[in-house]
């Protein structure tokens, strides 16, 4: 029906092409101003949180292990959308009112932190014990061994699963539209609401997400090659 209506009516075809063209700019703006910064910031903060959580999970201190477990369990056991709503719509009830973008960064960072911590924990545990001992044997401290010997090797192991987390995050940021961040999908919703061309506009948004994620996988490929240079 839809395709028929396009091809049967050159005037409508022209109108659709026009809409596709004119909605590209606001959507890209949404991507550049919000989707991409939101993704990058959340991933950086999330990764820091994930490393700390992973270290807490393998630490000798029971309290650290407990806190990390509860955090990971709570974040993984509740929907991301609900978490975002609690931060943006819920916290004002106790006097904490946050800007939409900041709410989203907090929500996504917490989410990445929990999921990626499991990846990083597994990667750290996959490095042979002899590497820790070699570090200690030349007089390095725990922190020095971790930073210079263990994490560089663990990062290679965890790159593919972390890339997955990153790509999921790009798409998950569309949820931020529901806490009023004018990211790419929110722009799409606004455009579609004004012209009722839902199929066209949302498909265009989907295509843009795909393009972004495609470029990210290409970058991942380059990084894997780079990290692979010392492998046998």
């Amino acid at each position: 029906m839809y395709l028929n209506s396009i091809f049967a009516d050159p005037e409508r075809t022209a109108k659709l092409i026009d809409i596709a063209k004119s909605s590209l700019q606001p959507m890209l703006e949404g991507a550049i101003m919000n989707t991409i910064p939101l993704t990058i910031l959340s991933f950086i903060f999330g990764l820091i949180l994930a490393i700390l959580t992973a270290l807490a999970r393998i630490s000798n201190v029971k309290v650290f292990r407990m806190i990390a477990r509860v955090y990971v369990s709570a974040i993984r056991g509740t929907p991301l959308l609900v978490q975002l709503f609690i931060i943006f719509y819920g916290l004002p009830n106790i006097g904490v009112t946050l800007d939409p973008f900041i709410s989203a960064v907090i929500g996504f960072s917490l989410s990445v932190g929990a999921y990626a911590s499991e990846v990083i924990r597994a990667a750290i545990l996959s490095i042979p014990k002899g590497q820790w001992e070699a570090g200690y044997s030349i007089g390095m401290s725990y922190t020095q061994t971790l930073k210079r010997i263990i994490l560089p090797q663990a990062s290679k192991v965890s790159l593919p699963p972390l890339s997955n987390t990153f790509i999921s995050l790009v798409k998950d940021t569309s949820l931020a539209s529901l806490v009023l961040v004018t990211e790419m999908f929110r722009r799409a919703q606004e455009i579609a609401a004004s012209n009722y061309e839902f199929l066209l506009v949302y498909s265009e948004a989907a295509l843009l997400y795909w393009v972004i994620c495609f470029f990210l996988s290409v970058i991942q490929g380059f990084m894997e090659k780079r990290l692979d240079r010392y492998a046998s």
């Binding site: 042979p128 002899g130 590497q131 001992e133 070699a134 200690y136 044997s137 030349i138 007089g139 390095m140 401290s141 725990y142 020095q144 210079r148 010997i149 560089p152 090797q153 290679k156 240079r229 010392y230 492998a231 046998s232």
Partner: protein, 244 residues
């Protein structure tokens, strides 16, 4: 001078070291032999505190660690710098080149300048016969070459004593010689060495003393000639018969 006094180590219910007393004079090479499970590797690992002894005391060149009291991490780190450890499985850092492996300790722990550390590392790798392999990653080196990098890495910290934990056990037979040669050269230069090994030829040729350990105690210690031709203890005799 290395002094071990009343060293005990327990893993859960299993007592691996049952009171080790040992003194090694500066510049001497001591080879430790014994059946597997005799505690020889554990004793070596206690010397650089990769294992924490249950009780006992160790002293190296006047620095003491008494394990009947709590020992601080700072003291352990300082103590570790007195010893260089060579591992059975080399444990080189796979993400660093041979040169970077050797430079790592001096730069990170001793806070030496990069250039000075690089020069020293280059010289050490030349000394172990790997001057042409400085930019190779461990995965690109043979087992014997990796182990020689391991020795250079330990030497770079300028330790008072070198500890070797079965340094040739993981090597193909034809690669054992090159590692033993480096160790013999070190011995001749007057490095204090404690070597856990199954290489009886090395023990005969390079050791000042041989220690036979069994079931967590030192059974016998003597000059290599004596212990190999005329062992005084029955257990030593049995072990030597089994391996020869």
């Amino acid at each position: 001078m290395i002094l071990i006094k009343g060293l005990y180590k327990q893993f859960g219910q299993l007592e691996v070291l049952k009171g080790i007393d040992l003194n090694v004079e500066k510049g001497k090479v001591v080879v430790v032999i014994g059946p597997s499970g005799s505690g020889k590797t554990t004793m070596l690992r206690c010397l650089n505190v990769l294992e924490t002894p249950t009780k006992g005391a160790i002293s190296i060149e006047g620095q003491n660690l008494d394990f009947s009291k709590a020992v601080s991490k700072k003291n352990i780190a300082a103590f570790r710098r007195l010893t260089g450890m060579v591992f059975q499985s080399y444990n080189l850092f796979p993400h660093k080149t041979a040169l970077e492996n050797v430079m790592e300790g001096p730069i990170v722990v001793k806070k030496e300048g990069k250039e000075a550390a690089r020069k020293k590392a280059q010289a050490l790798l030349e000394k172990v016969g790997l001057g042409d392999k400085v930019d190779f990653y461990p995965a690109q080196l043979s087992g014997g070459q990796q182990q020689r990098v391991g020795i250079a890495r330990a030497l770079a910290m300028e330790p008072e004593v070198m500890l070797f934990d079965e340094p040739t056990s993981a090597l193909d037979p034809e690669l054992v010689g090159e590692v033993l040669k480096v160790m013999k050269d070190l011995a001749q230069e007057g490095m204090t060495m404690i070597v856990v090994t199954h290489e009886m030829r090395f023990a005969r040729e390079a050791a000042d003393e041989v220690i036979f350990m069994d079931q967590g105690v030192i059974v016998e210690r003597d000059k290599p000639d004596e212990i190999f031709t005329n062992p005084k203890e029955e257990r030593t005799r049995k072990f030597l018969n089994m391996i020869q």
